[in-house]
């Protein structure tokens, strides 16, 4: 079963994201810090990474770099409370698959996970 790494430190948002992942027929692995995310990526493959860039201690460029080094590239979906145009531009230029502002629509997220094609 394809796995999804969820990087989110807000328990409520994590629950919403987790449910969306399950609804899409994928398996969520949830972490709440940047360090845990890096540990996970060094040991595991996943099809998607759902990330809130504002999580404390998160080095998003490093996460992206690790995600791209996999034999099967993980697709990055950003789900964030920061709705500024500048940060969206910066994130998109890093090569993410999709960008959502909280509160994220779990139906929309499920659609992204069901039909968005991770490499």
């Amino acid at each position: 079963m394809r796995r999804v790494l969820v990087i989110e430190d807000d328990p409520k948002d994590m629950a919403i994201t987790r449910n969306a992942v399950l609804r899409a027929g994928l398996f969520p692995d949830c972490v709440a810090t940047g360090e845990e995310a890096l540990s996970y990526l060094l040991r595991n493959d996943c099809a998607y990474i759902l990330v809130e860039p504002c999580v404390k201690g998160l080095n998003l460029p490093l996460i992206l770099s690790l995600a791209n080094k996999r034999d099967r590239k993980a697709a990055i979906v950003v789900i964030t409370k920061d709705s500024s145009l500048t940060s969206e531009r910066k994130l998109r230029e890093m090569g993410i698959l999709y960008y959502m502002v909280k509160p994220a629509d779990d139906m929309e997220l499920s659609m992204v996970l069901q039909n968005g094609k991770a490499d």
Partner: protein, 457 residues
């Protein structure tokens, strides 16, 4: 030997100049002291100075005007203003014109030394930053498009031609051939180069998500749309929108997309309000878009709008002379493997050149990375490569060139014996037969007592 630090001291008071000069020369600086602005300008035109100490109040040209002139001659000189008539206005004006610092007379020599040391540090850092920028600029003449083949040089020329215009570009080429790199190269060289470069991959999202992603939606546009969403056209406003795999765009989405190309207008999903954007579109596809348009799978009017300037990126098999350059580039820039990277053996290079590279440049990058891991720092040999399909070049020959099996076997045995300098035990091992069997064959082919064939090295 390092060049001594040179200081230009400009002050109309001779005694002051003498005291400062003596002190700084004792500290190892080379001091050139003059009594007027005019003399200072002459000096600056003849030689470079690291630091200039300028008195503000002088007859004729004052220090602030002199500062401007010196900066015109040499923007890199660090200037420290000295004055007995300190005013905030003059200080602010000087700093705005590029002075590093402002000291009040009587100048404390220790404070002057510290300020000069700081000026030298700033100068050194500025110089380093400039050199790095220059090196980067030269290195990045075309960092995205690596190769020296005629076809790649033609692509680079096309990029230079189209970059400065705002023309829509259609890039065609196989998967992994570098279409996105070409698009980025165009964007960087355009007047939108400082603006955003946003990528939409039409093949990565399903139809309904694609429209949402491209145009955005209003709050309440559909069930669950609890916030508004910006579309990529809005995110890319002022910059470039790169639409990859444009052939995968649905016909409905194509209609809305055409409106952006024609008038710069679009509407968010669920909105009746027209919005305007200013962006450049670069589209890419690995399909034959013209054929799809003829077959009705792609809007013909959209095709013609996209096809204003067409760039066809050649597959790697059509520019094989670039393979060694690409291999070298990925070896040098890989994050795995030792530094410097291991050499590539001639046999390995031959295999790399013979391979057809269906995945193009992207596949080269992946093969290099995998090979560096497998070779573990040793020179790269064919067994490290693990190319997905070993394509041996077809050797076509006429019937007259074909030999009987016995002749082939005889020649091969002779070749192997030559390669091992006649050592029959080693020859048998290489041929995969017993020594007794080898002797029997040598007898059969009349080779038992003959010299082995000399092989070319």
């Amino acid at each position: 030997m390092e060049k001594p630090i040179s200081i230009l001291l400009v002050d109309d008071e001779a005694d002051f100049r003498a005291i400062i000069s003596d002190h700084l020369e004792e500290k190892g600086y080379q001091v050139f002291s003059v009594g007027s602005g005019q003399e200072a300008i002459s000096a600056a035109q003849e030689q470079d100075f690291d630091v200039a100490l300028l008195d503000v109040k002088m007859p004729g040209m004052d220090g602030v005007n002199l500062l401007q002139m010196l900066k015109e001659i040499d923007p890199s000189v660090e200037v420290i203003m000295l004055t007995g008539h300190a005013t905030i206005e003059t200080a602010v004006q000087s700093i705005k014109l590029g002075a590093l610092d402002y000291l009040s007379k009587p100048v404390r020599l220790s404070e002057l030394e510290v300020t000069i040391a700081r000026a030298l540090e700033v100068r050194h850092l500025r110089r380093q930053a400039f050199q790095l920028r220059e090196r980067l600029r030269q290195k990045e003449a075309f960092p995205e498009i690596i190769g020296k083949s005629r076809k790649i040089l033609a692509i680079q020329q096309q990029i230079e031609q189209v970059a400065q215009t705002d023309a829509t570009v259609l890039i065609e080429g196989e998967s992994g051939s570098g279409k996105e790199l070409v698009a980025k190269a165009i964007h960087r060289r355009s007047k939108r180069g400082d603006g955003p470069f946003i990528v939409l991959n039409c093949g990565a999202l399903q139809e309904s998500l694609l429209e949402n992603e491209l145009f955005g939606h209003e709050k309440g546009a559909f069930t669950g749309a609890s916030t508004e969403k910006r579309g990529l056209v809005e995110v890319a406003d002022g910059g470039t929108l790169f639409v990859d795999e444009v052939a995968e765009m649905s016909l409905a989405c194509q209609t809305r997309f055409l409106r952006i190309l024609e008038a710069g207008d679009y509407r968010r999903l669920g909105s009746t309000k027209d919005l305007k954007v200013d962006l450049r579109i670069i589209a890419a596809t690995n399909k034959k878009l013209a054929e799809r348009a003829k077959q009705g799978q792609f809007r013909e009017d959209l095709f013609y709008r996209l096809n204003v300037f067409r760039i066809v990126v050649p597959p790697l098999r059509e520019r094989k002379e670039d393979i060694p350059i690409l291999i070298g580039h990925f070896l040098a820039n890989s994050e795995v493997g030792p530094k410097p990277p291991p050499p590539v053996s001639p046999e390995a290079l031959e295999s790399l050149m013979d391979y057809s590279w269906p995945g193009n440049v992207r596949e080269v990058a992946n093969v290099v990375e995998r090979t560096l891991i497998v070779s573990q720092g040793l020179p790269i040999r064919p067994q490290h490569l693990n190319l997905t399909s070993r394509e041996v070049p077809l050797v076509t020959c006429g019937e007259k060139d074909l030999l009987p099996l016995e002749q082939v076997e005889r020649d091969h045995i002779q070749k192997v014996l030559a390669a091992v300098s006649g050592n029959k035990r080693r020859a048998a091992r290489i041929l995969g037969i017993s020594l007794r069997n080898l002797y029997r064959k040598l007898e059969h082919y009349g080779l038992a007592n003959s010299e082995p064939l000399k092989t070319a090295l």
